[in-house]
Every structure is written in C-alpha cells, then in structure tokens.
C-alpha cells in the first residue's frame, strides 16, 4: 500500500514538474463556473428616460455601488463599486447626461457619463467640520450656459460647475452645532435657501445668492420645546418637524426671512395616540406622513398653518417622493400590504380623493415588507400618463412594477453575504432515473457523435456552436440530486437582511430562500441581526432519513450582551424547523467534534459573562458532553485589550443559573501583550473540517519529517501601536510585526518571529502544519509573504524500519498538549506584488492532493498560487534529488502566472471572502468567492488525476472497442479459412 502510494506520488510529482500551471481554454469558460453580478440594497434611484435613448435608472446602494440598470429587464448597463469607506450619500442627474454622486461624507463629488459610466470629472469638496451632506441640482440655475450644482458638505455650501467640476463659490455656513437639513431653491428665483437646526432647539434659515454665494439674509429662531431632528418639507416655505417629546408637531414657516412656529398636539389630531411617532422623510406638496403606533397617518396642511388628518392607513406601508409629471401636477406612490399581495396606489398630491392608479400585485412573502418606493412616469401610446414603480423590499431585493405586474426583480440581498455553509443534496432515489436527464439513447448518441466530430476536427462551425451550447447547459450539472463526484451541493448563505438563500453549485440558481422569521423585527426583539451560520445536522450512515439542517445564530441588537437568537433550518425544504430567543447572549459559538445519535453536532455557546451553554439541549447530548468534559477547552481574544485567555470548563452553574446545560468556566492562562509595543491585528486558526492525510513529510533523500499537526494552534500577528494605521503612517524604525504560534490548550507560545520594519494589514491562512501570511515591508516598499512550517521533533527518531514494520512506534498514539512536544520550525519569506483582500487555501476530501493558496487580489480577482512556491526548503541551487521531489529554485519574489487566475477574465467586485469546499473527488475543490458579486468554480490543484476530463470522447472509445472486436472477429474467420486451406493442400 505504502509502495503504491509512493509510486503514485512520484508519478504525481513527475506530472507536476511537467506542468507548473494550469489554465482554462476559452471554450471552457462557464462550464464549471458561474458569475453573478449584484449591486446591493438600493438607497437612491434616479430615473432617466430619454426619449430616443434606452430607458434606464441610476441607483446607488448600501454596498457603495452606483449602477445604471435597464428599465426593461433589470440588467446592469454599467456599475462602479466605490471603496468600502466611500459611501454614496446623494445621487442625481445633471445636464441630462451626467450622473452626479456625492460620497465620502460629502467630500467627493463625481460626475459620470450617463450612457457608458465613464468618470467625467471629480472634485474634492473641502470643509472644516463633519456634517450632513446634501446635493441639490437646480433645474434652471445657469451661469454662463453652465448648470450649477449646489453641494453642502463638511459644513460648507459649494456651487460647482456641472461641466468640469470647478468650484464656483464657497460659503462657510456651519457654526459649532449647526446641522443644515435641507438646501433648496424656490421656483423662479435666484435665491438658495439653506435651513437647519442648531443644537436641539434653534432653527436657522440662510438665504444665499445663487450667482456668487453672498449671504442675503439670515434668520434664526428658537423653539423652547426642542426638536427631535425629524422633519418633512411641505412647501417651499414651510416645514413640519417633531418636537423632542415626539408628541407635538411643529410647523415652521420661514417665508421672507421671518420664522414662525405653530404647534399642534398629535393627540388633538389622532384620538388613540400613545407612544412614539415618526415622520416619514417624504417630499409631498402640502402633505406629510407620520407613523403613529401601527398606523401611517397622512396629514394635510391648510393655508393658515392648520393641520388635518387626510387618511389613516395600516402601518406596513411606504411612500415615494412626489414626481412632477405634467403641468404643475405632482404624483406620488403609496405601497401597502394586504395578505399575500401588495397594493400600489398612485395619487395626485393635491387631490387626495382620486387615484391615478390602483393595482394589486401578488408578492412572494419571502421578500418581506416594502421599504422604499421610487416612482417614475411614462407616456403611453395614447398620450396618457402611465406610472412605473421601483420598490426595495425587506430582503434588499429590487423590483420594478408596471401595469399591475412585476416586470423584473433582482435578488440584491446576495450582495451582502454574512456567512456561508454547504449542504449535500438528496441522494438519487429510484423514482428519479438517469433517463430523465439523458432524454433518450438517440439524443445521447447524437451528442457524443457531435463531440467526436469535434475531437476529430470534422465539425462545421454550426456544429461547434451546438456542441458549446450543449456543454454549457448540460442538465447534468443542475440536477437536484447528489452526484458521484460531489460537485453538486447547496450553498447556504446568510445575508445582511436576515435572509437565507440556497444556491445550487451547478448553475448558481436560488433553490429556495427564506426570510428568517426569527431575524425579523418583532416586539421581543427590536433590532435583530444575523451573525453566523453553522452546520447543525449532517446525516449520513445511520440517520440517512433525516434532512440536513443548519443553525443560524443571531442577536437582538448590536451590543455584545444582547440576547441571542437561534434558528434551525431544514436545507432540503428551506423551512424553519425551530427557533429560540435565548436568555443569554452569544459571544462565541464553538462547534464540538461530537455528534449525537441523530447526527446533530454538539455546539457550545459562550455568553458575554463567560458561561458555556450546551446545544442541543437533550439528555443524550449532556451525557456525551460529560464524558468528554475534562478535555474541552476554549480561548477568547480581547483585541481591544490585547489579551488572549484560555479557559477550561468547571462545573454546572446550577445554583446561580437554573439551567442544567449551563457550565461555569475558569481561567487557565492568559497572554497579555505589552500595550505600548504590540497590538493584535490578525488571528487565524485551522479550519475545523480540514482533513490531513498523513503526519509524515518525506523528503527527497528518503528522510522523514513528522509534521506537528494540531487543531489547537492559534496564529496571532501583532504590530507596533504606531504602525496599526494605514501603510505609510509610521516609519520603518518605529514599526514591527510580531507573529506568534500559540497552543490554545496550555497557552504555550510555540514560536515567535519579529519582522522589523513591517506592518499590516496581515492576511493569513493556517493549514496542516503551516501558516502563510501576507504583510507590508516598509523598508523594501513591497508586500511580503512568509511561510512557517512546524515539525514535531519528539517523533523525529522514529526511523527504524524494523520497528516500524513490526508496529513498535508511538506515532499513532494520541497526543496531548500537556506533553510539551518539542517542535522545530522552518520558515522563508518572499516578495509578493499584489496587495491582498482575502486569502484561503484549497481543501480536499482526503487531504492527499497538494494545496494551492487562493489569493483575492486588489483587482477583485482570485489568484491560485501553488504551495510549492511557499516551501521553506527552497534553496537557490536545489540538488538533483530535491529537484526530483519538486522543489523549485529559490527566487526573491513569488511568480504571478496569468493563467493561474481562477476567475480568468472576470472580476468579483467588492471581493470580501473566499470559501473552499472539498468535493467527493479527491483531486477537486469547490471554490466560492463572494463580495458584491458571486463567483463559483471548481479547481484541481494537481489536475484531475482521478477522473477523465470533461471533454473525454466516449464515442471514440466505443468506436475503437467496436472496431477492435470486429477486427478480432474478421481475423479469426480468415485464420480459420487459411488453416482449412492448408489442411487440404
């Protein structure tokens, strides 16, 4: 057996040295990979319906994306992903051809060409203090044939030319606590109004000359009751605001520089008023909407500051801004929920009684409530006005409604994935036969004959097109059953909106989706957030009839001691099986390496006060747990205090907490980093599910090194506190990077390295017995990657063949961290060109296949780099035997081979993470990359040595076999005849 493996490995090495890289042919794109583009939850939308041009809508999203979408199909025309800290504040269209965006808290103003999305100009808006940022594009404010853009940002009001982004004038407005809330220009005047609150009780109005920025008039008035900060503008000279107690509506009239307040008690307007009220930030003429209890109340403002209730509707509702559509008329859209339908109403804002449009549309209840509505009008062929509405749902999806139906929808919640796990598909049962997929034998044969023609280069161009089409939409890969190779799986993803999606790995379609009821706002849980997702039950062997399920962990609120939420979801049906709102908080979730009789994995949940809770809460689980009790440890990292602590479980916390599944813990050890010299910036541990094939590493001269393989190792990187910021914020002399390998059971520091003159950000992967980490070297002005390999010195003398043959060795006896194994470490460092966004390592079913590092580059691509390049045994002149082993001569930098980009020509915009999942086929790893976009592919780090390639011609094989059999038969007949003839002679 050992020999066979050696032969196999040697063959493998031989094949490696022949092919240092692998790549994809052009026609293989899309065969096993898929790529989906998203934009995220839409914040602002501006419609642009040029008469001749294509109809489109420009949107900005929470993922800092600005995109132009096709109004007919919802496809993306163009898209820009701004940086993670360049949030888009406002968006508008100027001059009918530029998209203007204001981002980075009002400091960056950019203009993008509307048809193709190219940036036309960019200008920095300077200012002294942080403030709200506002963008206002007056319709008819001209200066030398140039439209002017009014920007308020960083406490200054700016007028910017829309042609080249030049700042025309600038006016400092903000004093200490002034918050400008709105900038507007009454129709037909050259005066710009800027209004805002100072502190909580003063209301300021500025009137500014639009031509030169001169302050024309300033008025200020104090309101003794104080404001809550919420307001709605009702007309060009009036606002309605809520007072600090949220029980009085204050209408603020500021005509001609005179500010007057008028108070109305909400209880006078609405009879059964109690509790909180909230103003909808809508812009309707003479009207505003306010949310009280579970109602939305529209309140009209009559001439003499009188408020009156126009209508009262049930709460889950959303209102759009007013849209001017024909002479002086403005319309707005109102969306309400009713059962499984949503009701869309379009009304004129000065005439409540009549509805321009009233439609009911069937809506998937997994999309939740409507959150935002954007309205747009179009002219029908009969010259009447039609309306289309863009709505953003609770699950962040975007839908376009027109003529009573959903024209298109986008699952943009998938742009903000929090966590991922996988699930197997159901096993193929007798009912689902292969024939269903292969159509019939004739089709199958035809397909293969076509393929054969392709391989023999006989195919015509049309045939090639047919072959390519066949390969791309092979129904084999999108089947809903488990396959032999383990390529087909479900990716279960949890999004920021609290929705679970199950994506099929074959083609990336959404198999089911579930807006988790336990992660929706409710009375008991005001601000639920999803955190992580774990595999809860993976049935195999004896629990085959059960469906697999996942555990979703959430929290009621943002602070760490908020009560936790658990939800269990069946991955076949997509139904929530059970959900719990816990009495304790969740600080950590530790999946234990034991499963109960129904294959449910035991989990330990640690709360903020360091108590451990065991789940599932069954007597069987507690029995199993008690059995392993003394050998379970856990550790916590306090990054803000630079402390790592190790804990052991102590005893049941029965007297204080009446819960038999609760355990007290005690501190075992702690590592306190000196806060003046070290700050934790990165930690990494091995993947829980990683499989390692062997503990021995065989070197070229038949020598053996024993790897130190332990799951209880922690990699910690610390930097000098001065160098914790951006690259360049510290000099090389005052920056250093210290790397630790720590045993998390005993707290023993196994290894420690200092890189002087280096700083973060540090990205690291930990696999088997090695760590690879990426950081910046300030002295060399380059990024570096280092590798550390750990070997067990205490086993190194197990080299007597006879003893090994007879089994007299201690290599398979269980090891304990308390035995203090002696380790040796090998390490090496290389330059690396790219900065890195994420890093991962391939994982295979048995851990035999060699590893590749997957590096998410700054260009949002994924690069596969052989681990062989990061081998500390590399030397400048390797010996012949080392070369045979596959050791590459040492170079100062790691090569970037263009063919080894896993994402080939695609970009995964806003890349945030890379997940690798082992397939059943040993040679293959499934890779899922997520960010704003999603990308999935499968890679074989050592090529597919254990299977035939995709384009293997079975027909050719079949024909060869048939021809051989025929030849055998013919020659047999001939030989019989010849023999007979010989005999007659």
């Amino acid at each position: 057996m050992a020999m066979a493996i050696r032969v196999f490995l040697l063959l493998l090495f031989a094949s490696f040295s022949a092919h240092p890289s692998f790549a994809l042919y052009e026609d293989q794109v899309g065969l096993m990979d898929w790529h989906q583009q998203y934009i995220g939850k839409v914040n602002h939308a501006v419609f642009h319906t040029q008469k001749a041009g294509r109809k489109r809508v420009v949107v900005s999203t929470e993922e800092n994306v600005i995109a132009s979408l096709d109004l007919r199909r919802g496809a993306i025309f163009w898209r820009h992903v701004l940086g993670a800290n360049d949030a888009v504040d406002e968006i508008d269209i100027a001059l009918e051809k530029y998209v203007i965006t204001l981002s980075s808290e009002g400091s960056l103003l950019r203009a993008w060409n509307l048809p193709d999305g190219q940036m036309v100009w960019e200008s920095f808006v300077h200012g002294s203090m942080p403030s709200k940022s506002l963008l206002f594009i007056p319709a008819n404010l001209k200066k030398d044939k140039d439209n002017v853009i009014i920007v308020f940002g960083k406490g200054c009001l700016h007028a910017v030319s829309s042609i080249d982004g030049e700042i025309l004038w600038r006016k400092q407005l903000a004093t200490e606590s002034l918050e400008i809330q709105q900038v507007f220009q009454p129709l037909g005047s050259d005066i710009i109004y800027a209004i805002g609150f100072v502190g909580s009780s003063q209301f300021d109005t500025y009137q500014i000359d639009a031509k030169n920025g001169e302050l024309l008039k300033y008025s200020s008035a104090a309101f003794p009751g104080g404001f809550s900060g919420e307001f709605a503008s009702v007309s060009s000279d009036m606002l309605v605001a809520l007072d600090a107690t949220r029980s009085i509506l204050v209408s603020i009239n500021f005509r001609d520089g005179e500010t007057s307040f008028h108070q109305t008690q909400i209880s006078d307007l609405v009879e059964d008023y109690s509790g909180m009220s909230k103003i909808f930030p809508s812009k309707l003429a003479g009207k505003f909407a306010i949310k009280i209890n579970s109602y939305v109340i529209f309140i009209g403002v009559t001439g003499d500051n009188k408020l009156e209730v126009v209508e009262k509707i049930d709460y889950p509702a959303a209102v759009s801004d007013a849209l001017p559509f024909s002479e002086g008329q403005q319309a707005f859209a109102l969306v309400q929920h009713g059962g499984s339908k949503i009701h869309l109403t379009v009304k004129l804002d000065n005439d409540w009684g009549s509805d321009l449009l009233k439609e009911s549309i069937e809506m998937d209840h997994q999309r939740g409530l409507v959150q935002k509505v954007f309205i747009n009008s179009y002219t029908r062929t009969d010259r009447s006005h039609g309306f289309r509405v863009l709505i953003v749902m609770e699950d962040h999806s975007l839908l376009l409604l027109q003529q009573g139906e959903i024209v298109w929808s986008r699952e943009d919640g998938l742009a903000s994935i929090l966590d991922i796990t996988t699930s197997e598909l159901p096993v193929e049962r007798k009912g689902v036969s292969v024939a269903k997929v292969e159509h019939n034998l004739f089709e199958w044969l035809k397909g293969h004959i076509l393929k054969l023609k392709g391989t023999l280069m006989l195919a015509s161009p049309e045939d090639i097109v047919v072959i390519q089409g066949m390969r791309l939409k092979s129904s084999e890969k999108s089947k809903m059953t488990r396959d032999h190779n383990g390529f087909r799986k479900l990716l279960i993803v949890l999004t920021k909106a609290g929705k679970l999606f199950a994506l099929h790995t074959g083609d990336g379609r959404v198999v089911w989706s579930l807006l988790l009821p336990s992660l929706r706002r409710s009375e008991t849980c005001e601000h639920p957030i999803g955190l992580n997702i774990y595999q809860w039950q993976v049935p195999h062997h004896h629990a085959m009839d059960e469906n697999p399920s996942v555990l979703v962990v959430g929290r009621c609120g943002h602070c760490s001691d908020a009560p936790g939420v658990l939800s269990f979801v069946d991955t076949y049906t997509g139904k929530e099986l059970n959900s719990l709102i816990l009495a304790h908080s969740i600080a950590q979730v530790i999946p234990l390496p034991f499963t109960d009789s129904t294959e449910q994995r035991l989990h330990l949940l640690i709360d903020a006060s360091r108590r451990a809770y065991l789940y599932p809460r069954t007597p069987e689980a507690i029995n199993m747990f008690q059995h392993e009790f003394p050998n379970i440890y856990w550790f916590s990292i306090e990054a803000e205090n630079d402390i790592i602590r190790g804990h052991a479980l102590q005893r049941n916390c029965m007297p204080e907490v009446a819960d038999e599944y609760c355990f007290n813990t005690r501190d075992l050890w702690s590592i306190i980093f000196p806060s003046e010299s070290e700050k934790i910036i990165a930690t990494v541990t091995r993947q829980l599910n990683e499989v390692v094939h062997t503990q021995a590493k065989v070197t070229a001269d038949q020598d053996v090194m024993y790897k130190y393989i332990s799951k209880n190792l922690l990699f910690v990187a610390t930097v000098a506190p001065k160098a914790a910021g951006e690259i360049g914020s510290a000099t090389p002399e005052e920056s250093w990077l210290v790397v630790y390998l720590i045993d998390t059971v005993t707290g023993r520091i196994m290894h420690r390295v200092t890189h002087l003159g280096s700083q973060g950000p540090v990205h690291a992967v930990f696999s088997e017995n090695w760590v690879v980490y990426h950081y910046f070297n300030l002295r060399a002005h380059r990024y570096e990657m280092s590798v550390i390999e750990i070997y067990d010195q205490s086993r190194a003398d197990n080299k007597d063949v006879l003893k090994l043959v007879l089994g007299k060795h201690n290599l398979s006896s269980p090891i304990s961290s308390y035995s203090r194994p002696e380790v040796t470490v090998k390490s090496q460092t290389y330059f690396f060109t790219h900065s890195v966004k994420a890093m991962a390592v391939t994982s295979t079913a048995k851990g035999i296949t060699s590893k590749q590092l997957l590096i998410g580059t700054i260009g949002d691509q994924v690069l596969a780099l052989d681990k062989r390049f990061l081998d500390p045994r590399r030397s400048i002149n390797p010996t012949q035997s080392e070369k045979e082993e596959g050791i590459i001569p040492l170079t100062d930098s790691l090569p970037i081979i263009p063919q080894s980009y896993v994402t080939h020509s695609l970009q995964v915009e806003g890349l945030r993470g890379i997940v690798t999942i082992p397939a059943k086929l040993e040679s293959t790893t499934l890779v899922f990359v997520y960010g704003v976009d999603l990308f999935f592919t499968r890679i074989a780090p050592s090529r597919t040595y254990d299977s035939l390639t995709e384009d293997f011609s079975y027909a050719l094989l079949l024909i060869t076999i048939v021809a051989l059999i025929a030849a055998i038969f013919v020659t047999w007949v001939l030989s019989v005849r010849k023999e007979l003839r010989e005999k007659w002679r």
Binding site: I5, V7, Q588, Y633, T694, K711, S816
Partner: protein, 178 residues
C-alpha cells in the same frame, strides 16, 4: 491376411504377401549371399550406441538449457541499464519482467528439464545451475527495484500514509463574533 475362408471349393491360391523376413515356411532356401539375420538382434547393439549418444546429447542440452538464463541475464542487465533509474512505464515494465521471468522459470524447473530426463543423465547439476542463474536474475530484478526506490526499505515507506495521531484535548474559540 485373410485367406478367403468363406470361399468354398477353392482350388489354388497364391499368397502375395512377402514373407521375406519370416523364416521360410516352404523350405525355400534363401538366395546366395543372403543371410537371414535377426533385425532385433542387430538393433540392440545399434540402439545402445544411439542411446549413449542421446544421453550425451541430452546432458549437453540440459547444460545448455541451464546456461540459457545467463544470456537472458546479460540482456536484462543491458535493458535495465537502458531504462535508467527514474520511475516510468518503461523501467517499471522491464523491472517487473525481470522479476517475473526468473520466477516463472523457477516454477517450471521440472518441466524445462523433463525432455532430458534419463536414467543415465544426471540433471541435478544443470538444474542447480539453472536455479542459481535464475536466482541471480531475480536478485538483479530486486536490485533494480531498489534502485528505482520501489522497495520499502526506508522509514518513509512505512509512515508515509500514517494518518495523524488523535489529539486528547479539544479547544475552540477566538474573537467574539460581531
């Protein structure tokens, strides 16, 4: 030699059979110069000589056969030298044939020397030589196998697929989840 017993009333008959080798039954003297010597008697002396020659020949042949693997050995050696010391299909094929040939030859030692089996011929010597040469061939094969590194003589061959040892303790945790 039926004489037509079923024919009744036959007057005469001539027997055309030539009884020249049988002693004359009708007392016809043999022609002059013809001595009726028994061929059997004559053969016995002749065959003795013949048998001796044959035995000689057999033992000679047996020795030849016994020496045949030597040529094979030389050829194998040459082929092995040609195949080099890296593991690929050719060298593995040659090595395995070099191992298989002596083994199959050793299995059929009896059969190889079957034709030369004789009371007078002593096949033990050739057999021993044959076996020795084949064992040498086998040794050559094994040596080749070793040079290819396919013999489990190193510690690495016995531990290369040894799975990692189990850990007694289990530890989990990390940064608090955000």
């Amino acid at each position: 030699m039926e004489k037509g017993k079923g024919v009744v009333g036959r007057r005469w008959a001539i027997d055309f059979t030539d009884n020249s080798t049988a002693p004359s039954s009708r007392d016809i003297p043999d022609p002059l110069g013809f001595t009726r010597a028994s061929p059997d008697q004559d053969d016995s002396t002749l065959s003795r000589q013949k048998k001796d020659a044959e035995a000689n020949w057999k033992s000679q042949k047996a020795w030849e056969v016994a020496q045949a693997p030597f040529k094979n050995l030389l050829m194998m050696g040459f082929m092995m030298w040609m195949a080099g010391s890296t593991v690929h299909l050719f060298s593995i094929g040659i090595t395995f044939s070099a191992l298989w040939q002596p083994i199959s030859a050793l299995q059929g030692v009896g059969k190889v020397f079957e034709p030369y089996k004789d009371k007078k011929v002593d096949t033990l010597g050739p057999k021993l030589l044959f076996i020795a040469l084949n064992l040498a061939g086998l040794a050559l094969g094994v040596w080749k196998l070793n040079t290819l590194g396919l013999l489990p003589t190193h510690a690495s061959d016995w531990v290369s697929s040894l799975s990692p040892a189990q850990e007694v303790e289990y530890s989990g945790g990390g940064l608090p989840i955000r």
